[in-house]
């Protein structure tokens, strides 16, 4: 850390300090491995896919059919891509207005350290631990129109057979249910950890001041864990941009391409159809989108949360 005192020193002194206090050595030793790994596994693939995105290329041999921005043009005018982006936005919205409040509610109910709460915490966290594909499979059984739980419920209500996952209007709602179910535990854990670190004294002081339970939550606990909420919302947004594994076993993007997200779109139209150049272009768009969101989010919320 550079302190104010450091900055006031002449450059030569600062240099000598830096050289002798071991910081420079540490940087010289520890930076190269990280830099090399980052270059090979992040920068190069990114650069490559940016390069591929200008070709019409099926992945075999060297890309030679240079098409300029045509891939981007096709993507941006593709109605399925619009659906995919819309679905991704829906996931963000549902995460923010359903999943996070649900996670907060449960966290408030079970954040105190008791044996019963520990059991509930584990139960609520289980979906998150489960592999995405397994979760997708489990829920595809639940939603099965002939044998699933929803079939029994629909039958009980006398609605006949309902095939939610093949209903273009409802399939994505079902998927969002699964996503909420799968990831709320993660946000809940963030809130639990944060709530546990709010000093008990503050809550008791509020009780003495006449705050009721809900007022304690609203005026003391939630403001105190605001940084955790900001971080959890960030994960929710970035996570929504990456939803993939849950969808494949449930609907595989169907019916009639209604349930694609950006990543399943990339996978379906880029990889499975051997349009590597096209897929790369989707990847680049996703990457730019994610970086933009991350930068803006950090600028706007994370700074303020710290202050």
């Amino acid at each position: 850390m550079t302190t104010a005192a450091d900055r006031r020193m002449p450059a030569s002194v600062r240099m000598r300090r830096a050289l002798t206090n071991g910081r420079v050595t540490a940087v010289l030793i520890m930076l190269p491995p990280a830099l090399i790994l980052f270059t090979f596994f992040v920068m190069l693939p990114l650069g490559e896919s940016a390069w591929f995105s200008f070709f019409n290329w099926n992945g075999y041999g060297a890309p030679s059919n240079f098409v300029g921005l045509e891939n981007y043009d096709r993507i941006l005018n593709h109605s399925v891509f619009h659906i995919a982006v819309g679905n991704t936005v829906k996931i963000v919205v549902i995460s923010l207005i359903v999943q996070m409040p649900l996670a907060m509610l449960l966290a408030l109910l079970i954040y105190k350290k008791t044996p019963t709460n520990a059991v509930f915490r584990l139960i609520f966290f289980l979906p998150y631990i489960l592999a995405e594909v397994a979760a997708g499979l489990i829920w595809s059984f639940v939603f099965d129109g002939n044998y699933g739980v929803t079939a029994s419920i629909a039958g009980g209500l006398g609605m006949g057979n309902v095939f939610i996952l093949s209903d273009p209007d409802w399939a994505f709602a079902a998927i969002m249910t699964v996503i909420v179910w799968k990831y709320f535990g993660f946000h809940m854990m963030i809130y639990i950890a944060a709530l546990q670190s709010v000093p008990q004294d503050q809550i008791e002081a509020a009780r003495i001041e006449g705050a009721r339970r809900l007022q304690v939550i609203r005026y003391v606990q939630i403001p105190a864990i605001k940084p955790a909420i900001v971080v959890s919302a960030f994960f929710a947004i970035i996570g929504a941009l990456q939803v993939f594994d849950v969808i494949i076993p449930l609907t595989n993007g169907g019916p009639s391409n209604q349930t694609h997200t950006i990543v399943t779109y990339l996978y379906t139209f880029g990889l499975t159809r051997l349009n590597i150049g096209f897929g790369s272009a989707v990847g680049v768009i996703l990457f730019v989108g994610a970086v933009t969101v991350a930068l803006f989010y950090q600028r706007i919320f994370m700074k303020r949360a710290q202050g």
Partner: protein, 336 residues
């Protein structure tokens, strides 16, 4: 301003009984200080008065009313915590008027009350700051300000000064005493600090293992401790507690003599002793000496008296200042 009366209060946490059976009256307008060793139940008692903790049995009365089952906010009390318990996301002003806002007190009145509290506590210039931008003493004042604006009948303090350095503690001690005078409210104050207890209190309650050992004015406890525990607890340096045989009394289990009540001579006296450690404090010199066959004795001498470790002394306890206790630790009839 109100009297606080605890009747047959007991408190257990699971199987652990912290307060077996306790009666205490805190007179209206008094400054009552609870002292006692760590873990003796002082905080628990204060929390029972505040309503943050329910007694297992017994009755809490404030101003004559039974408030045992009332919510903390309905008892007319306020509490200042050792950690201050300020809300980090609110400004000083918001911290102070939080309770008033909850109670929907009109903005104009809130402002008047906050301004008044800020004036009393010299916080006027800091009202727009966040707690993180304040010093420890200022934070403590904010916590007190939060208490004042609620105009409680009873103020409760749980070791409010123990996170402050010595100089600030002295200053805040004086301010608390002034506050008590100007507000004329009942105050109950928990502390570890002898000096705080002696200077602030008009009534000290000495607790030990969940029981009250003695209740009285500071000088009462100092002059006539009713038990050996109180004798050893009140006063600094500690009273010397020796077996009765040290003064030739087989009927006395424990005799006590304060370090300031022992005469020292170079050539004659009751106990021949060897100085082992000499602490020169300026105004006083405290000598830890060993009396062969009796034990260690602490003596307090005027600061101009110079001594060196290893010197031989003759110590004579002043007879009229002896405290005698029986085998149960209770005070015996005063020596004539």
């Amino acid at each position: 301003m109100a009297e606080v009366r605890l009747e047959s209060i007991s408190k257990s946490f699971g199987g652990l009984t912290v307060l077996p059976d306790l009666d205490l009256t805190v007179p209206e307008g008094s400054f009552t200080v609870l002292v006692g060793p760590s873990g003796c139940g002082k905080s628990t008692l204060l929390r029972i008065i505040s309503g943050l903790e329910m007694p297992t049995a017994g009755t809490v009365r404030i101003g004559g009313q039974d408030v045992t089952f009332d919510e903390p906010s309905k008892r007319g009390i306020s509490m200042v915590f050792q950690s201050y318990a300020l809300y980090p996301h609110m400004t000083v002003a918001q911290n102070i008027d939080f309770g008033l806002r909850l109670a929907k007190v009109p903005a104009a009145e809130r402002q008047t009350r906050v301004a008044e509290a800020a004036r009393i506590l010299a916080l006027t210039d800091y009202l727009d700051r966040k707690p993180s931008q304040l010093s420890g003493g200022q934070r403590q004042r904010v916590a007190i300000g939060r208490s004042i604006v609620r105009q409680p009948k009873v103020f409760l303090f749980d070791e409010p000064l123990s996170n402050l350095d010595a100089a600030l503690r002295t200053q805040m001690r004086v301010e608390l005493a002034q506050l008590h005078q100007s507000l004329d409210a009942t105050m109950i104050y928990v502390t570890h600090d002898q000096v705080e207890a002696m200077t602030l209190a008009d009534q000290i309650v000495v607790m030990n293992a969940g029981r009250i050992e003695q209740v009285g004015a500071p000088m009462d406890l100092y002059d006539r401790p009713q038990t050996a525990f109180v004798a050893g607890f009140i006063g600094s340096p500690k009273m010397n507690l020796l077996p009765g045989t040290a003064i030739g009394r087989d009927d006395v289990a424990t005799m006590g003599i304060r370090p300031e009540h022992i005469a020292v001579s170079d050539d004659t006296g009751y106990w021949p002793a060897t100085a082992q450690v000499v602490e020169t404090l300026g105004a006083d010199t405290v000598v830890h000496a060993h009396v062969a066959g009796t034990g260690d004795v602490t003596v307090r001498l005027p600061g101009d008296r110079r001594l060196r470790a290893g010197e031989t002394l003759f110590l004579t306890p002043e007879r009229r200042h002896l405290h005698l206790f029986d085998a149960d630790g209770h005070r015996m009839q005063d020596p004539a």
